[in-house]
């Protein structure tokens, strides 16, 4: 039976083919079609919100795709994936608007790839079959590779190849682990494998469990990215066009943290618990290190990229605290980072379109000719810093509280990261917007246009909404996280189960 979720998944794929059919000679039609299609998908995806149930997956569609080996088209939606899907469908039309004037060559292909990216991302978040998940995981790489490689800045080929090889390396390790799991369980189905593990029908020795955990973990850690696997990110962000940076930071990085929550914890709980101390250490190093390196970046996009390393460290810290608050905060922070960093990349893109430079030194005094841009940038800055009433505060607070139950010293170091985030963001703001503008800057710094307002306004409203009324989002997230935590309780290791029989 076809569900609303199927429609939300496959509409982007249909949209991709529709965009391919539009003649190349009519770029404005391509733009308009991409906007209409992505907005339509967003509106339809809102229908998913009311359908999600607290006690399990909704909109489940489980049918055969390939009979041998048994690979199934098994998708479903819960409180964890719901908001990530909405985040994807929201940011796609915003990315379309961000590229409206900025992309002026090979327009049709650009928007086609952007919509194809949406297809892959939604698929990743709703797959309940490990093989299907892997397929979507790799589909995502292809459009992003071309978005960076064709429409990027000067070193785009270097960045695109590095991005592809780096993330591909991790995901092939994951594929090997998926095949191993299939050989033992006889199925690729995630829900069945979890059920087998919980009932003890499938038991992994602690050594095997650790190897499988690491294979999944490395794939996800590269995507997050967790220190020290982060160096592809600054390169990819700096070279990517604005839309690429937005989708990369806001949604693609969440594939990694989503994978940790969805797969690493419930499938390999013992190994996850055993690894928690060093994973938390890496997360905290990433928080402080990413913030310190962000502090000294002369390039705006690199600064925001390193700040992402810092912010995503918080998410990993929350996940590996194995507490309800920590996990809730981590998932909330995934969404927050998507909103606020997406907004920052969008606004940096606005600045770039005006001045054609990403160097902070090329700016100064922007607030004088463009006061609205300055106000909007300030709100996004304060959200990113974690000011109360704005979204990031909620997530950071929950993560710190959850982490303090399991590892207080890590919490203290993570809190330093919050202070540093104020330092690098406010310093960036001061150097860009305050002071006396140069003659050439004043002449090329018009204030926000209607299209630019339309792209940024939804993100600003969400920053406020998510910062003040968490009831819209947190209950469904919490319900699912409670289930994940229940599945992730430490189990007796495989050999012990075998002996007990």
């Amino acid at each position: 039976m076809t569900t609303l979720l199927d429609a939300v998944l496959f509409l982007p794929l249909i949209g991709f083919f529709v965009l391919l059919l539009i003649p190349k000679s009519n770029p404005s039609l391509s733009r308009m079609a991409a906007l209409v299609i992505s907005l339509l998908i967003f509106v339809i995806s809102l229908g998913l919100v009311s359908g999600v149930v607290p006690e399990g997956y909704a909109f489940v569609h489980d049918s055969e795709w390939i009979s041998s080996p048994p690979i199934r088209y098994h998708v479903g939606l819960d409180g964890l994936s719901l908001w990530l899907v909405i985040l994807t469908t929201l940011l796609t039309p915003i990315s379309v608007l961000a590229s409206w004037k900025h992309i002026d060559h090979r327009v049709k292909e650009f928007f086609a790839f952007l919509i194809l990216l949406e297809f892959g991302l939604i698929g990743v978040f709703i797959s309940l079959d490990l093989f299907l998940f892997y397929v979507f995981w790799e589909i995502v790489l292809v459009p992003m590779y071309f978005l960076i490689g064709i429409w990027g800045h000067d070193r785009r080929i270097y960045a695109a190849v590095k991005f592809f090889i780096y993330t591909f390396t991790g995901s092939v390790l994951m594929l090997a682990a998926i095949i191993f799991l299939y050989n033992r369980a006889g199925t690729f189905d995630y829900t069945q494998i979890v059920a087998q593990l919980q009932s003890g029908r499938l038991a992994l020795s602690s050594q095997v469990e650790m190897i499988l955990f690491l294979a999944f973990f490395i794939a996800f850690a590269i995507k997050v990215p967790l220190f020290p696997l982060h160096t592809w990110l600054p390169d990819a962000h700096v070279e990517a066009p604005t839309a690429g940076s937005i989708m990369l930071a806001s949604v693609m990085l969440k594939m990694g943290t989503y994978g940790l929550v969805r797969f690493c914890l419930p499938l390999f709980p013992n190994a996850a618990h055993k690894s928690a101390p060093w994973v938390i250490a890496l997360a905290v190093i990433g928080i402080v290190y990413g913030a310190l390196v962000a502090l000294v970046q002369p390039n705006m996009k690199k600064l925001v990229a390193y700040s992402s390393v810092s912010h995503l460290g918080f998410v990993v810290l929350g996940i590996f605290s194995f507490t309800q608050q920590g996990l809730d905060g981590a998932v909330y922070q995934m969404l927050n980072h998507g909103i606020s960093t997406g907004a920052l990349f969008l606004l940096v893109g606005y600045l770039y379109e005006r001045r054609h430079s990403l160097e902070i030194a090329a700016y100064g005094g922007v607030a004088t000719p463009a006061p609205n841009l300055a106000i909007v940038f300030l709100i996004a800055t304060l959200a990113s810093v974690g000011l109360p009433m704005l979204n990031n505060f909620v997530g950071e607070y929950l993560v710190l509280q959850g982490a303090s139950y399991s590892n207080f010293s890590a919490t203290v170091f993570a809190a330093i990261g919050v202070i540093l985030s104020a330092c690098y963001m406010l310093w960036l703001y001061q150097r860009t917007f305050y002071g006396k503008p140069s003659e050439s800057l004043s002449h090329h710094m018009p204030d926000l246009s209607g299209r630019e307002w339309a792209a940024i306004l939804p993100l600003l409203l969400l920053m406020l909404w998510m910062g003040t009324y968490t009831q819209t989002f947190l209950p469904s997230i919490s319900a699912q996280n409670a289930r994940i935590l229940d599945m992730s309780k430490q189990r007796p290791a495989g050999s012990e189960v075998a002996n007990a029989r």
Binding site: K162, P228, H230, W232, Y289, L292, V293, L295, Q297
Partner: protein
């Protein structure tokens, strides 16, 4: 009562110093030049923090963490892995030159080496 008096005296002093007789504060600043400089520069608290916290943090992050640890260390290993793969491939690709004659020569040479090795090891019995 005392605080109101203190406030009024302060206002009166300020008016006297800066409105009626502006030469007096200049003279005071000259007479007590050392304390004046300290107070004028807010006891150099900002400079103290700059040299103790801000500058070491910024300089250390820039010259050590970013330029050395991140760019050369971590990213150096990543790019080094790519370079190693390429140079190993650069050597191995010579085996696949596509030239049939060189393949034939290698086959002859290899056969001779194998025959010699077998003979020296005591023949193919």
């Amino acid at each position: 009562m005392v605080s109101v008096a203190a406030g009024l005296i302060g206002i009166a002093l300020a008016a006297w110093f800066y409105l009626i007789a502006p030469a007096i504060p200049e003279g005071l600043a000259r007479t007590f030049s050392t304390p004046y400089r300290w107070i004028y520069n807010k006891y150099f608290v900002d400079e103290f923090y700059d040299s103790l916290v801000v500058n070491p943090m910024v300089d250390g992050s820039r010259s050590l963490l970013w330029r050395v640890v991140d760019a050369r260390g971590i990213d150096g290993i990543v790019n080094g892995a790519g370079r190693t793969a390429r140079s190993v491939g650069g050597v191995l690709k010579r085996m696949q030159s596509g030239s049939i004659r060189s393949y034939a020569a290698w086959v002859v040479l290899g056969s001779i080496v194998v025959i010699v090795a077998i003979t020296m090891a005591g023949g193919g019995r």
